[in-house]
Point group: C2
Chain length 455, copies 2
Amino acid sequence: MDESKTKYILDEKDMPTAWYNIQADLPEPLPPLLHPVTKEPTILPPPLFVEELNKQEFSKERWIDIPEEVQSIYRQWRPTTLFRAHRLEKALDTPAKIYYKFEDSSPAGSHKPNTAVAQAYYNKKAGVKRIATETGAGQWGSALAMACMYFGLELKVYMVRISYQQKPYRRNLMEIWGAKCVASPSPDTKIGQKFYAENPNHPGSLGMAISEAVEDAATHDDTRYALGSVLNHVLMHQTVIGLETKKLMEKMGIYPDIIVGCVGGGSNAGGMFLPFVKDKIQGKKKNLRLICVEPTGSPSITKGLLAYDYGDVAGMAPIAFMHTLGHNFIPAPLHAGGLRYHGMSPIISHLVKLGYLEAKAVPQLATFESGFQFARTEGYISAPETNHAIRVAIDEALKCKQEGKSKTILLAHSGHGHFDMSAYDAYLAGKLEDFEYPEAKIKEALSQLPQIPGK
Amino acid sequence: MDESKTKYILDEKDMPTAWYNIQADLPEPLPPLLHPVTKEPTILPPPLFVEELNKQEFSKERWIDIPEEVQSIYRQWRPTTLFRAHRLEKALDTPAKIYYKFEDSSPAGSHKPNTAVAQAYYNKKAGVKRIATETGAGQWGSALAMACMYFGLELKVYMVRISYQQKPYRRNLMEIWGAKCVASPSPDTKIGQKFYAENPNHPGSLGMAISEAVEDAATHDDTRYALGSVLNHVLMHQTVIGLETKKLMEKMGIYPDIIVGCVGGGSNAGGMFLPFVKDKIQGKKKNLRLICVEPTGSPSITKGLLAYDYGDVAGMAPIAFMHTLGHNFIPAPLHAGGLRYHGMSPIISHLVKLGYLEAKAVPQLATFESGFQFARTEGYISAPETNHAIRVAIDEALKCKQEGKSKTILLAHSGHGHFDMSAYDAYLAGKLEDFEYPEAKIKEALSQLPQIPGK
């Protein structure tokens, strides 16, 4: 392999034609989802999800074919580039080799289209006319708007108000692609009205916006709901990231020692990690470290509980066994809006429990410091979410320097920060704040977990 | 060739290793540059430009090697993708085949880094410590900021005030990459002070900002000036766009019937066109049409004169023979800030005169309408400048439909619009205006051209 090269791209013909479903390889199955009212094991509510996505959610098949219609859209920007961060390595003066898999190049600019396109496709195929969803920073909402545009579906997006205000251009993006976007909590749903009436400037939360979108889908016959993270089928669609990386690295004759990804709901990290976790489950790569990076302002794995909790604020969504800060927890107003969620993907939580994944929480300022260093060396402006992963990749590279070890570090570069410049503006002006997680509030929110009989 | 494919990329090993210099093939040489005071033929003033760039400006060598240091940076994002616009074609119901060469993928997001990296390299090599430049929309300023960051050079950018106000995030981008950016006219230079004192909120113009940057470089020993368009060496550096496209299309077994590019100073269109113009000069491709698209709010080719004029407002820069609206002309406050220039590249003007290039002017609203249609089909959000070229590509594709002709249209997609969302916001809100060129103002400005003895 030519070590001086900067970028590596898989041949289009070597792109994955099936998603990897880790449920086929789990040494212990995932705890069941529970119905929010009966608290009995349940599927995803059919008024919310089409059958094919429900099947995928619980499938034990190892490989699920990617429909040609989805592959053909993937090919507009996939396979994505794997960069070697030569300039960053040099600036850090580290013997570590840092690679980053670059999910910035779709029109929506993040990894989210990998599942958005698949979900829009299955909904269209099932005759659905309209989709309702929520979005935090707007990465998911814009990705789904793009996907719905490709398939001719209507879309209504409930956007967490603090992000709606901080990131007006993400709303423009959704509108350009034809979606309707409102600030959540909104007056458009019953659950939204409740919070909106209390405070029309309520900052909102992902859990609250989920409740609104779920209610919208449940109360409109032609409408289904779509979730951009957390669920099993979402993480499965994202495995194209890890599958492409793994195959390319095989061709390059390398294998990572450490893989780093940011986690909010877990879809980006899951997408990169899962094909590698397979190797760990099979006992092939015991020393491989997979690190989930979350914000100290929303530290579900590092400070929450592994417990059954609602995915939304209203308690209308199924109850999942996951790391949670409590469904009533309102995360700090971080610029990394995509990481502001009280819960975690059950798959990620399960793999943390089984010891396959590690987790770290990092404060906001430190992530921007690293995103800044990344931009000043590699050039690319990263999303605030991505900056979390960059922080830990840099920390690990500096550890390699101390220890004189030449480890291979792989970074899941989940998206660009072109629509997050207000955050960089605040950072440059010295106005960006750190958020300590409010211990008392976490404790309070954790005291309100649902009671599950026999658990 | 597989007609269903969406994207085509040249092999990295087939990337051009030399820039194409059209001066070797011009059937008639370019008129000389004139000294602003003596009005005698001149080189680029050495206090402003390093020797290597001066040599390139006047070279008659057909191929000029791209230094390995420059190639290595190009390879971070080059060769860029050539997309087939299947979805746009379908929406237009046209038999035309539309391809777009996508210069959006560098960290700066436009074609500008192609010359920024080269200029920073030659300045660094000559021992220069600091560069001064101007920028309109901020695409050039941010590209040069990125390039100076790569080579460890200081940079001061004079940004046209109207764009500075409309596009605050482009300033952030420059700052992230380490440049100092001020609104022009600024109090930092003598010429700036003159306009600034009259009106501290003066909208500015590229010609004015050029004067400030030129003065800055002329009055600081360690500083040279860099121009992002207009000059011969700039267009030459940009020929990597056309060279890549031509080689790739050869491999695909196709050749365009029509090539479309937007023109402000002419570097993007020049970069794409010049390698194809060579074929026309050699009489090989007589039917190939090359269309320069300019805004009606700054119509230098379609409404200006082909005459000797200053490149800047202060009359400090050399006098060039070009299409001009007069150096005192202040273009309309278009969102396509990169197209707001009173003059035109002498090479483009010369080729228009010789009949190798056509020109069209399009109004702002029509360009956004087309950019919107592009985003709603192809997904990508284009720069306001790029929308001008998209407009004419669509018009030509619709003509093909009327005529039942399956022409191949090639579009120079010069950059993304991620930092121009305020313009899309205005468009979506119905607040975007058209600008008629002010005939009387053009007439007045054209009455102030410099008097050249014997011309």
